[in-house]
Symmetry: none
């Protein structure tokens, strides 16, 4: 058998497995959101909370980039 075809098959199947895993996690997240909603927590607000908790990292990176940019601009 052609080894190149074999290699392609291996790659595609690996990617497909990983896409499945990813999708499974996405589904789990949705499921948790749904449960939380059933307990009175709004998904919309939960998402906002997650975003806010994640923000400090992003925000710090953004600030560092801006500082570097303007240092370079001078």
């Amino acid at each position: 058998m052609d080894m190149t075809n074999n290699r392609l098959k291996t790659i595609v199947e690996r990617l497909e497995r990983m896409e499945e895993e990813k999708q499974a996690i996405v589904d789990d997240i949705k499921e948790i959101m749904k449960e939380a909603k059933g307990e009175g927590f709004e998904p919309k607000i939960l998402k906002k909370v997650l975003a806010l908790r994640k923000m400090p990292h992003d925000e710090r990176e953004r600030l560092e980039l801006l500082v570097a940019t303007y240092m370079a601009a001078l």
Copy 2:
């Protein structure tokens, strides 16, 4: 202690863990694409192949037929 706050904390932390896992998989997929590219497989084509394999057969036919129809009408 307020059980509702505790419950909320549990939910948020679970979601954050899952988001991390998801991100790890996304990074892995990128890594594999990169490797595949190094072996001569075009990521762009690989993505198209994955999309085609994922799509229901009849849906794919429907799209192709419609595109052909529109093209012919022009």
Copy 3:
């Protein structure tokens, strides 16, 4: 007055005007798509048709051939 600052101002304002024009066209395109949908044409297919007509003929053939090759190899 500092001529360099003046020049910078001119450049920035020109760019801002062009960004606005660009956005106006983007909005118009969306509007036409919406109208077309109302007449029974699927925006998704219309976009594919536009992409196909825009793509150089040989590039299109190259992509289709590669996809077919990969699919066949699996």
Copy 4:
């Protein structure tokens, strides 16, 4: 002649004209960036400046959304 085909043709050609206009503007913006670069202004910085000048609007919207969200969450 089939009026539907005619209508489709009209729509597609309108869209193609608008895409051309859009592309022309995109090209103009690039051209100006290039000129500015020739005069010593870095495109990277210019883009940052444009983003900053545009931000107040976006930022205000973001804040208003946050306020509304948390009011709703209470």
